[in-house]
Symmetry: C2
């Protein structure tokens, strides 16, 4: 069922583009079809897998380096939210028939840059012919001190609800790109939003602080309200957050003022890859200090409450805001 | 870029079909977007990823349980060849738009049966919308005593070349299915070959013996001669094997007698998922005994020789057989 094309086969492809990425000893230089990782003593390994598909999670004509970075970073974001330090990743790559050497040059360059930035290596993987568009399946592996993985369950009534960075930029960037927003911010602000959609920023620098302080945590990928709902469901609690407390970039704030539909995108749109963490009020000052030292702003947006129910978002006058369902990449 | 269909979204899908497979504590019941594995003390983790695509690695109309088993087993086969005991796996599943509940019932049933058979659990994964046909990306994780992973490098001149089971059945099964063979064995023999293509049998039971005796090892997936070539290249050696010594099932032997082209398929066709292991002659009796105790036949097919070159296959009169290039799933 497999025919050879004119371009290099799988082995040539590994040789040219992927072996240079296999910088960790665990990868055996991709000579074997498997890696062997010696786990850091006293640590658990955190394993996560996010798959991205052309036309579903990214645009097929996005820059190849950006596609590579997104495929990798959405996984690193999961590790950070669990309090884990990233070690490396395996990558399954299903390439459509029209791939070019230029594409793989850019793609590998994107990975190489992120490997250096996050101190990780490619452990192994597989390259196959796609039956449709480009599909990238990355399994990322991180380490946490044994038993210290931060779960979605664990939030307790009275805990503060915090988020890192700003929320909604990526969802608005996507809407800008699709042309479904009334307003459009001026040049640089628009570029910032578009870039947030293209380039998730995994909060790896926050992982230690999350582990030290959070009772529950996840990365906001399905939308702030939906993901807070996941924490509530896993923890058997509910939450109230204030829409006005949700940290916005200047561009997002301007759009929210110009287009009523923007707020819903901000609260439910997803692709933020910021860390939502709950913690006792007494822990928050130390968390905020550690976050600040790591260069990541954090903000309190509400509080966990007793009662197993979906979270409620309040407007400025304390009334609940009705919101559409959360974002579902599937 | 994501719209909801009428069927359950990703969360409903996880709930119904995948949570029951998350039997290992490491999986956190799939409640988190990550697993946390406490590595067995004193062990390395062996990591492998093989991706399979409808129309490339399997037929879209294969039984769903068989597709699931193949996707999983090709990975377990890699672990066995490295001398590793399987622990679990993560699965990325890109589902085409026309998936049905029946399909997922069968698919999950195939996984559940193999999880029980191989003593493993689903650690986590991701389900997304495919842009083409069904694509399954599994990362399997196994354990070996620290530093004991069996590599492709390590074969030494004088070592015997051994294979488990019989070779060529899956490649002939594929040719039967495609109708590209002159002969066709009688009913049961044909069914056996077709089943070998559909259902790889990972030699998990051989892992300990491989670790105890092999100087180099891999699983035969790209074709016997091509994979032996990988061992030779990684080890800086060459090899001579005798075509007549390659173990054949009765059906494959009959086909080889009836159709000259069958021999090339046997030697280079791939999808065997048998273990090719090299070892000093003095180790072989103990290896064969351990293999026999594990219920897996093993056979000596040739010898490693000095000189970095591709392996040579000899016919009954000691003349080299010219063969096409090895199978390339890409």
């Amino acid at each position: 069922m497999a025919e050879k094309g004119a371009r290099p086969g799988e082995f040539g492809l590994i040789e040219r583009w992927f072996r240079p990425l296999a910088t960790d000893a665990a990868a055996f230089g991709l000579i074997d079809d498997a890696a062997a990782l010696t786990p850091p003593p006293g640590h658990d390994l955190v394993l996560t897998k996010d798959m991205v598909v052309a036309g579903v999670h990214f645009f097929a004509d996005d820059p190849p380096a950006a596609i590579a970075r997104k495929a990798l970073r959405v996984n690193l974001s999961d590790l950070a939210a669990k309090g884990a330090r990233p070690l490396g990743y395996l990558m399954g790559l299903a390439l459509p028939g029209d791939w070019t050497a230029d594409f793989l040059d850019g793609f590998a360059e994107g990975l190489a840059g992120d490997q250096a930035a996050f101190g990780i290596g490619l452990f192994g993987g597989d390259t196959v012919r796609a039956s449709g568009g480009l599909t990238i399946s990355i399994t990322a592996i991180g380490a946490v001190p044994q038993g210290r993985t931060v779960r979605r369950r664990g939030a307790r009534p009275g805990d503060l609800v915090t988020v890192s960075g700003t929320i909604g930029d990526a969802a608005l960037g996507l809407r800008l790109r699709l042309g479904t927003l009334d307003g459009r911010p001026a040049g640089e602000a628009a570029a910032d939003l578009l870039d947030r959609y293209l380039h998730p920023q995994p909060r790896t620098a926050l992982a230690d602080a999350v582990r030290d302080h959070a009772t529950a945590s996840l990365d906001v990928s399905d939308g702030l309200v939906g993901d807070l709902g996941h924490v509530c469901r896993a923890s058997g609690v509910t939450a109230r957050i204030e829409a006005a407390a949700v940290p916005l970039s200047p561009a997002a704030a301007a759009l929210a003022a110009a287009d009523e539909s923007a707020l819903a995108s901000i609260l439910t749109g997803g692709d933020d890859y910021e860390i939502l963490a709950t913690m006792p009020e007494a822990d928050y000052p130390a968390y905020a200090r550690a976050a600040s030292a790591a260069g990541v702003p954090v903000t309190v947006i509400g509080r966990i409450e007793a009662g197993a129910a979906p979270p409620v978002v309040l407007d400025r006058s304390g009334r609940p805001i009705a919101l559409p369902g959360s974002h579902d990449h599937f």
